[in-house]
Amino acid sequence: MKAIRSLALIAGALAALAPALRAVPGDPGPAPKTAYAIPVRDNWELTGGLPENALILSLQGLANTDAPRVYIDYPADWHFHDFSPVKQFYATKYGVAFTQLDTPAAALRTLGHFARGYVVWDQKVRTSLNVAFTAAGILRAVVVDQDLIPLAEAQGLPRLADFRGRFEGWTDVQIYQWAYDRYWADCSRDYLLWMGGVEGDVMEPGVADLGIAFHCFFADLSSDPKDTAEYAFEKRILAQMKPGSFIFGWHPYGKDTEGQWVTLASGYGLKIIGLNTFPNGTFLSQIGFSPGFRFTNNNHVTRATTLVAEPKVYISLEQSDSMGIGAWTEPERGKIPYDWDVGIDGMRWYAGVIEMFVQDKTPNDYFVGGQSGYMYPVAIPDSRFPALMQEMNIGMAACDEHVVGIMDHTRPRQAVPVGYNDLPKRTVDEYYRYAPDAIGFVNGYAAAHTYDLRNGQAFMSYDYYLDQHRAEDDVVADLNELMRLNPKRPYYMLVHVRESNSIKRVMAIIRRLDEHPEVVPLDTFLKLAASNQTYKTRYRDEPPAP
C-alpha cells in the first residue's frame, strides 16, 4: 500500500514537473554566456551518418528544451547555408563562448543528463525514426540505432522504447496509427512536426530538435487525396491542433506536392515554418535581438507619399524564400536595389539571424513583410483570417515593414500551371480591408495576373519568375518580350528572383534589356504603380456558377 502511494506521489510529482519541461523555444530572451557546439556528419543516409546525426539532434532537442545550450555545426552546403555565420555572430556580438564537443560520445558524456533514457529506431524501417523522434520528446530520450545502444548505455541511460522489428512490413498509416495510439495524447496541440523532404534511404531532420523540445508528433503523411488512408489520417491530426498553431518541417517530396500540403494545412488555419532542414531552431528561437538592436528598414516612401511615374519601364526585384537560403551573403549585394522577403515569424524563430542580416543591410536592400511561414490565404478559414492579419500588422510594424507579400497556391490538382498564383477578388478584398496602412501588396511566386488599385494602394503580381536554370539569353528575350506585350508606359515589371540566382547574374540580365528600365525598391515601385494605372484590374478566373 505504501509502495503504491509512493509510486502515486512520484507519478504526481513527475506530472507536476512535466509543464516545466515544456519548451521555451519560440520565446526569445537574452543570450547565454556559454553554449556547446556539436558537429554533425555530412551524410544523412539511414545506414551512413544519419544514426549519429539523429542522436545529436535528439540530444540538442532535450538539452535546449528550457534554455539555448547546444548549437549544431552543419555542413557548409546545408540548405540554410546563410545561417552558418550566425554562430560567430553570437560569439562576437552577444559574447557567447562556445565549447566544442566533437564526437557523439563527448556530447553524450556532457549532456546525457538531459535524457532519461534512449529509444531505438529500426534502420530497416525509415518511418520508425519519426516514431522514435516522437517518443524522444514524450519520454525525454535520445534516439539511437542498434549500433549506438552501447554508447547510450555507457552513460547509464536505460532503454525506454525499442522499435526494432516492430514495424517491419507495416504501411506508414499503420506505423503512425501505432504511434498515435501510444503518444498522441501527450503530444503538443500547438506544434506539429512534418518530417518530409527527401525520400528513400536519406532523411535530413534538421528541425527535429524543435519537435522533440515541443513534444511534437512527427509524421510525413501524404496530403494527396489520392492516398486515401494517409490523407484522412493527416486531416484527423490537423483537425485536433489549436487555432494558430505551427507546423514545422516540410512535405514529403515522394508523396505529395507543396501545394497540396500547404493548402491542406491552411484549410485548418495552421501556419508552416519550413523546412525539414531548418537548423538549430531550439537555439535560435530562444535568443532575442542583442540589447539596443532595433529592426529598421530602408523606407523610401510612406503610406501618404505621392509619386508620379514617368513614361518608361520600372523593374523591382524581389528575392523571396527568406534570406537564409539565397543571395544575401554575395559581394554584389547593395549594387542595385533588391527586395528581400522577411516574414514576421523570423523575429520569433531566428532573431539572431535576422539581426545579423539586418545590421549588414546596404541602402539598396529593402525588406518586404507579410504573414510569413507558408500560409495560403485563399484556403484559410474566414474565421481565422482577421486574427492572422492582425498578427501580420503587429509583426510588420515591429519590423518596420510596410509592403505585404502574398503567395497562394491553392490549386494543386490543376495540371495547367497557368493562373496558379492568382487570387480571387474576395481575398484581395480582405487584404485591402485588414491592411489599410500598408503601402501596397505583391502577389505570386510564379508569375500571376492579380492586379488592383484602391485608396492609393497598388496590388501587383510578379510578371516574371526568374528561374535560376534559365539561360541568360532566354531571360533577356523573355523580359524584352514582356515589354512588348505591355506596350503602355509606364510599365511596372515585378520580378520574382528565385533565391538561387546570383545577384551578379541578375545585374548582367538587367544591363542587357532593351529599354534600360529603372530598377527601384518595392515601396517606390508600388507608389509609382499607384500613380498611373496602366495595368488591368484582374483577379483569379473563377469557374462559372453551376
Binding site: 495540371a415 495547367v416 497557368v418 510578371d463 516574371y464 539569353d473 514582356l482 506585350l485 503602355k488 510599365y491
Partner: protein, 174 residues
C-alpha cells in the same frame, strides 16, 4: 552480264527508294521533342507531337509535361491551302510560361498554313491575342516545319512578333 548487273542495280535502287517512300509518311506521325537540341522548352520537360494529315487538313496534337503531376495537351487544326483561316479554341496558352502571358480574352487563335515544299516544308501562321499585365496584345507567330531527307527528324523554326529571339525545336520520329 554487265547489263544484267545494271538492271539489278536499278531495280534494287528503285525498290529501296520505294521502300524509303513507304517508310516516310512526311510530317504525319508521332514525334518526340529532343530537349538536348534547340531552344529551351522549360518549364516543360517533354513534348510529344502527333501530326495527322488528311488531304489539306492537318492536325497537331501536343502533349506537354512538367514533373509527374503537370501534364497538358492542346490541339491545332488548319488547312494547308494557303487561303483558309481556321479558328481554333485555346483554353490555355502553353508556349510562354515565363512571360506571364495568358491566352487573350477571346480564347481563340486564327491559323493558316501552306506547303512551301509539298510533304517536306510546311508554313503555319497564327494570329492571336495574348493577355499580359496591361490586357490583350495582338501577336503573330510564324512557324516553319522542315522534314529531314530521311524522314526521321522534324525541325520547327518559330518567330513571334513580340520576341526578337528566334526559336527552334528538333523532334525525332517515334
Amino acid at each position: 552480264m554487265k547489263i544484267r548487273s545494271l538492271a539489278c542495280l536499278v531495280l534494287w535502287a528503285s525498290g529501296a527508294c520505294c521502300g524509303l517512300a513507304a517508310e516516310n509518311p512526311g510530317l504525319a506521325g508521332q514525334w518526340k521533342l529532343d530537349t538536348s537540341q534547340g531552344s529551351s522548352l522549360k518549364p516543360w520537360d517533354a513534348e510529344k507531337l502527333t501530326i495527322t494529315i488528311q488531304g489539306d487538313a492537318i492536325r497537331f496534337d501536343r502533349h506537354l509535361s512538367w514533373s509527374p503531376d503537370r501534364r497538358v495537351a492542346d490541339a491545332t487544326t488548319l488547312k494547308a491551302d494557303g487561303r483558309t483561316v481556321t479558328v481554333n479554341a485555346v483554353p490555355y496558352w502553353f508556349d510562354s510560361w515565363y512571360n506571364n502571358a495568358f491566352i487573350g480574352t477571346d480564347h481563340v487563335k486564327r491559323v493558316s498554313g501552306e506547303w512551301l515544299e509539298p510533304g517536306r516544308v510546311l508554313k503555319v501562321e497564327t494570329a492571336l491575342f495574348l493577355e499580359a499585365q496591361q490586357g490583350d496584345t495582338p501577336v503573330h507567330i510564324y512557324d516553319e516545319y522542315h522534314l529531314s531527307a530521311d524522314g526521321r527528324t522534324l525541325r520547327l523554326f518559330e518567330l513571334r512578333s513580340t520576341r526578337d529571339q528566334a526559336l527552334s525545336f528538333v523532334f525525332n520520329r517515334e
